[in-house]
Amino acid sequence: MGYALNFNLIWRHFDKLWGGLLLSLELAVISIAIGIVIGLVLAVWYVSAGRVVRTIIAAYVEFIRNVPLILLVYLVFYGLPTVVDLAYSAPTSFILTLSVYSGAYLVEVFRSGLEAVPRGQLDAGKAIGLTPWQRLIHVRLPTMLRITLPALSNTFISLFKDTSIASVISVPELTYGAQWINFNTFRIVEVYLVTTAMYLLTGYALLFGLRLVERRFRAAR
């Protein structure tokens, strides 16, 4: 092996990675937040709706889950503006895409959680005279949250990693920053080692935080 590791050039351009990581987190947080709203609304709608609505929601979920994210990113960034008269920046385009994408995954997580709430609890809610809306807010959603937290954590981490796809439309997030350094310094091994470490550490930090939340909820079970 004639390759000698040299990290100096990486540290010199580290602001590209650090800024990229912050943007990755921003993309993930905003998209997941919107995805949670989409997922919750559609999941609640799904479990109480008739066949037509169920079919439409299921079609959305299946479509998203069977198309690679990178393709959706291209479609929304390059395809959509040519069809409809829309102009948006690459980050906005990516947030839009990842929101719709995460929404589909979260519908599934929330739906299975809602369906796993024991019927007895819903009966108890009915029996004390709660209206359907009150049963949803005070009985079904809290139990659903408890049931879905582990699956939610996995989905969140996975969606955070998916932000790396934004690099293909030149959103300067972490992976894009790594590519930039690679093109300008040719320290390919070093830059991707550091980038990997950054994804890994952030992922662990997220997981740790989510586990704390899970433990709090489990204690309260």
Binding site: D123, I128, G129, L130, H138, R146, A220
Partner: protein, 264 residues
């Protein structure tokens, strides 16, 4: 508890209620009246429709024909004769007038014992937090769990959970309390503490309709016993009469014989 209504009329009036699950008829023209302050116990082999009947009374289950009235008011349907279901809001208001205790307790797992009792008081009865809390504490005291107000269901034994379940139901001051095999899921040594609570409520004049397999309790605590078989009421009367009817009612004899064989 209620002063305005006519006390001679049946508080709960079930008339000719029939219900099928697909091809299986679970209730066959069941009629049953419960007057204020009465404790009526429903016994019978499993699959005889006892639980379904109870669940029809607060419309957790709908039924195909017949009528169920509480205090003269049709429970699940808008008007006598029509089969038009009440709105969900109306149904919720009707259900708030009946209390129900379940075989599997069904406490809300994310709420403390007090929280379980307070939810209905706050959201349905519109009580303030402080008022709901003091009512919850009062009832927890009544069921012997004053010290467990802030415990979560998972931290309570089955018997304790069921006593919270009872407190949750009676704190709403229902006109009638429905008890659905409330000791069936309990270890034998925990049955007594739950039945003691039921007995003390009965002494207070709480109207109750109860499905149970605790035959001794049914005999001692009930005003009347209803024996159900194959979805219909096979015999009804004061406990002594029912137990004596064994000689004339073939089904009852079989049921009690099998029951004694397995329980004594």
């Amino acid at each position: 508890m209620s002063t305005s209504s006519n006390d001679t009329r049946a508080l709960l009036d079930v008339r000719d209620v029939s219900k099928s699950f697909g091809v299986v008829q679970v209730l066959r023209s069941v009629s049953l009246q419960v007057t204020r302050g009465e404790v009526v116990t429903v016994i019978g082999p499993s699959g005889s429709g006892k639980t379904t009947l109870l669940r029809c009374v607060n419309f957790l289950e709908s039924y195909d024909s017949g009528s169920i009235r509480i205090d003269g008011k049709e429970v699940g349907f808008r008007d006598p004769g029509t089969r038009q279901r009440r709105s969900e809001r109306d149904l919720a208001a009707m259900r708030a007038e009946t209390g129900m205790v379940f075989q599997s307790f069904n406490l809300f797992p994310h709420l403390t014992a007090a929280g379980n009792i307070m939810l209905g008081l706050r959201k349905v009865r519109g009580k303030s937090e402080a008022e709901a809390r003091s009512i919850a504490e009062h009832w927890l005291g009544r069921v012997g769990l004053a010290h467990k107000a802030d415990s979560l269901p998972a931290e309570l034994s089955g018997g304790q959970q069921q006593r919270v379940g009872i407190a949750r139901a009676v704190a709403m001051e229902p006109k009638i309390l429905l008890l659905d095999e409330i000791t069936s899921a309990l270890d034998p040594e925990l049955v007594g503490e739950v039945l003691a609570v039921v007995r003390s409520l009965a002494e207070d004049g709480m109207t109750m309709l109860m499905v149970t397999h605790e035959m001794a309790f049914a005999r001692d605590a009930s005003s009347r016993i209803v024996f159900m078989a194959d979805g219909g009421v096979s015999a009804v009367g004061p406990p002594k009469e029912i137990l004596a009817a064994e000689t004339t009612n073939e089904r009852l004899r079989t049921f009690l014989a099998r029951f004694r064989a397995s329980h004594f």
